[in-house]
Amino acid sequence: MSQFAMLVDVSRCIACKSCSVACMQENCLHSSSWIRVRGRELLTDHLIKYYNPQSCRHCADPICLAVCPMGAIQRGNDGLVIHDIERCIGCQVCVDACPYSGMKIMTNGKVGKCSFCSHLLEINKEPACVSVCPVEARIFGEREFLIREAGLRIKNLLSRGIKAHLEGADKESTTVLYLSNNTSRSNWLVP
């Protein structure tokens, strides 16, 4: 089977937060959704505003795995980074280490993160967040297909004067690919 992945298209996100709530519903979380949608705005010659859904990107070389003193984080052959809550002692070093704000602090003091709904993949279903997203800002499929799709979307955005790029496709390869606007962090009004 060819490799699967998820594409998160920041340019399409409308901040309905349906993914975030679907994640809590699917994983029976009382709070601390594994996806958090954060607003960004910056003023250049005009106002740019977008939303960034933050969750685990399932890195090929996860820093959380490297820093966890308990070996609670493992990466499988399928490219998924899985957190074992039984081994987790709640030291939260991974939370600080993750550059993508993918690790969440849960009400039980331990950490939690996106499991890619691996239990749904097993029964041939797509992750809960993908299944609800009304604007195809989250899509699931074969990695190659998603990279091509992202290329088309980037071209389309460029034709409307919006520059965007794909994160995670090559070097710092991640299973969750991000199509992001070309803006720099330092300009964000709301950090």
């Binding site: 709530v21 029976c28 979380l29 009382h30 959704s33 195809e136």
Partner: protein, 694 residues
């Protein structure tokens, strides 16, 4: 009462949902988006999760957060399970029979002693089609006057559209947008308020429909648009008039349509001369070339559609703006064609007629406007109120509403939750949730969809359909007029309303996505209205001018009801409310997940306004209007103009949020043309509130 948690999450490990494969099909009854749902029950038969229904052609499996959040509220601590009676300030559990007997006795007493007008219903949340029908039969038999969603939501839109086209309903389904060349979205943040249906607009945009958003805030919808036009608050009428003016003066309108199917064109042409384009640009803050370009676009790109939202409806000069934009669509000939027309969540399919013989119909002995209701309660003219809704949070001057209800002799609340209004009741009756009631639901696609009861009724809750029939019995009224099941209710409604006669429950059950209306006995459904260019106005034509022969009269927002005579020195800013994706009316405030998405209400302001007030992000700010004041944390954003504040309207004191309702800052003032209450553009003052530790 406090926060509650799902017990499973207390454990060390939260396991994924245990799925059952036997999902029930339902229709979301929240925003009138009409999204198809799949409902999952746990082993006890309780709803444990809600998914989108992939077989529903309108949402194709996609949903917004709201129906998922709603599941959490079904079995939470605020849900009412049993009839309660207030005795010495405390609620005590009573039986349904006791409750109904008491209500019946009081009802008959006030009705005989003080007249039918001494009892009113505030009934914005009456339930599904079964409950609505029973409520209307009950009202006809008793002469109870009701205040529904109209004044707090769409009265102006309904009335103005009815004046123009003869029918207040949407003229076209949202799904038509993919056939349109331009979509004008005015004061409507549908990316948040109808997220589950927003894919229609994003798909249309990808196919080449030009999406233009006119709004005061840079909303999520604006962000997705091809063009966003930021307009000064309350000046939409002037923009609409300027567009009309350019189109009329340059002969860009559909001349054949105007001469054959409209009245009042001369008056309209005269009215739009009230401003020069330069003046319009100055008033609206929209540059002249942008207005001209939009007019050009509208003239060239046909068919075109209009989707207005609460941003121009729930304001104190709504009637004029709505008329300007709808007249605009009319003279462009954007009506009655695929891809043209007006989209709205107003989907009235007409009332059932002659359900009750004339001899048994009682008319309310007094008529009062929504504004007069307050005084009538305060002065003791009204003795008893039947509440299905939460007026103490969502009616303006909420504090006054609360006090007025407190002063009544007898208050009944038929409710899901012990909310701010139910807490004032003498009798609280537990209501069924829409997932616990079968019935027909209308949607923004102009379809009716059937849903079966998806879950068992909670505890002793009863639907309005059952409640009104049983109450009628205790009151000694003729009960044979009442249907005793949702199916029978629909059958009765269908056979007494020609416009839906062809829509049987069987047909609805067989048709995913439902059936368009009108659909008369011959079974022919109409996807959109006016395809035959027949307009149900008295003249049979589109009425471009008002009955007083003045087409459109712009009133400056500072001279509009609620702001008239208010000192601009003392109240130099404007206050509005706006919607967010995770809340709906006042019901999602009882969901943990909604609370995680929106931790607390905040007030958006422009960075310059914030610095004028000495505020940084998160600082407490006191907002004050003529009716009250409230402290909220500041949220600094470039999305709103200077001198303008906006916050979210959903919260009450009796909820996990424990918030003074923001509607208490809005005076009881209505749009003079359409009668809608305003919950935007009210003059206010703002100041930094002392910080903790100071």
């Amino acid at each position: 009462m406090g926060l509650y948690i799902r017990p499973r999450s207390l454990g060390i490990i939260s396991k994924p949902l245990e799925r059952d494969d036997d999902l029930r099909t339902s229709i979301c009854c929240l925003c009138n988006g009409g999204c198809g749902l799949k409902v999952s029950l746990d082993h006890e038969g309780k709803v444990q999760a809600v998914f989108g229904d992939r077989d529903n052609p309108y949402n194709k499996g996609k949903i917004c957060a709201k129906p998922m959040e709603i599941v959490q509220t079904l079995y939470g601590p605020y849900r009412v399970g049993h009839p309660l009676r207030r005795i010495n300030g405390k609620f005590e559990r009573i039986t349904w029979e006791e409750a109904l007997k008491l209500i019946a006795q009081r009802y008959n007493h006030y009705s005989q002693e003080n007249g039918t007008g001494s009892i009113v219903g505030i009934t914005s949340k009456i339930g599904g089609s079964y409950s609505k029908l029973a409520h209307s039969i009950f009202s006809k038999l008793t002469g109870m006057a009701n205040y529904g969603t109209g004044p707090i939501c769409m009265e102006s839109e309904l009335k103005v559209r009815k004046d123009i086209f003869g029918n207040g309903s949407a003229s076209s389904p949202l799904s038509d947008v993919i056939k349109s060349k331009i979509m004008l979205i005015v004061g409507n943040n549908c990316a948040q308020t109808k997220a589950g249906q927003f894919h229609w607009i994003s798909e249309a945009k990808q196919q080449g429909t030009k999406v233009v958003v006119i709004d005061t805030r840079f909303t999520e919808t604006a962000q997705m648009a091809d063009r966003f036009i930021q307009i000064r608050p309350g000046t939409d009428t002037v923009l609409g008039m300027a567009l009309l003016k350019i189109i009329i003066n340059n002969n860009l309108y559909d001349q054949a349509f105007v001469s054959e199917y409209t009245n009042g064109f001369e008056q309209l042409a005269e009215a739009v001369e009230a401003f020069t384009l330069k003046q319009a640009a100055d008033i609206t803050g929209v540059p002249r070339n942008v207005i001209e370009e939009l007019a050009e676009d509208l003239a060239v790109r046909k068919p075109g559609m209009l989707f207005e939202g609460r941003g121009i409806v729930c304001v104190n000069n709504a009637g004029a703006s709505i008329r300007a934009f709808e007249d605009l669509m009319a003279i462009l000939g954007n009506i009655g064609k695929p891809g043209a027309g007006i989209i709205s969540h107003i989907n009235n399919y007409g009332n059932a007629r002659d359900l009750i013989p004339k001899k048994d119909v009682i008319k309310p002995d007094r008529k009062r406007s929504a504004t007069a209701l307050y005084q009538a309660m305060e002065e003791g003219e009204i003795k008893m109120v039947f509440i299905a809704g939460n007026p103490c949070v969502n009616w303006p001057d909420s504090r006054r509403m609360t006090q007025a209800i407190q002063g009544l002799d007898f208050v009944v609340s038929h409710t899901l939750f012990l909310d701010d209004s139910a807490m004032l009741a003498d009798i609280v009756l537990p209501a069924t949730h829409w997932l616990e009631e079968a019935g027909v639901q209308a949607s923004v696609h102009r379809v009716l969809q059937w849903k079966d009861q998806a879950a068992a009724t909670y505890a002793e809750s009863r639907s309005g359909g059952d409640l009104f029939r049983q109450l009628a019995k205790y009151m000694g009224l003729e009960t044979s007029y009442f249907p005793n099941s949702p199916q029978k209710a629909w059958e009765l409604e269908r056979t007494h309303n020609k416009s839906i006669e062809g829509i049987t429950v069987e047909r609805l059950r067989k048709t995913p996505g439902g059936v368009h209306f009108p659909c008369p006995a011959n079974g022919q459904e109409a996807e959109r209205l006016y395809e035959s260019s027949l307009f149900p106005t008295p003249s049979g034509r589109v009425e471009l001018a008002r009955k007083n022969n003045i087409a459109i009269e712009y009133i400056n927002v500072f001279d509009s009801p609620g702001n008239q005579g208010v000192s601009p020195e003392k109240y130099p800013y404007l206050l509005s409310t706006n919607k967010v994706a995770s809340h709906y009316h006042t019901i999602c405030q009882y969901s943990n997940w909604a609370q995680e998405m929106e931790k607390q209400p905040y007030v958006e302001m422009h960075p310059q306004t914030a610095s004028e007030l000495g505020l940084t992000d998160g600082d407490p700010v006191r907002l004050e209007t003529v009716t009250g004041s409230l402290v909220l944390p500041a949220r600094i954003t470039f999305s709103v103009p200077r001198g303008y504040f906006t916050t979210q309207p959903y919260f009450g004191l009796h909820s996990p949020y424990r918030q003074t309702p923001v509607n208490s800052l809005f005076p009881v003032a209505v749009d003079p043309v359409g009668g809608n209450f305003a919950n935007k553009n009210i003059m206010c003052s703002a100041s930094a509130e002392g910080r903790a530790g100071q």
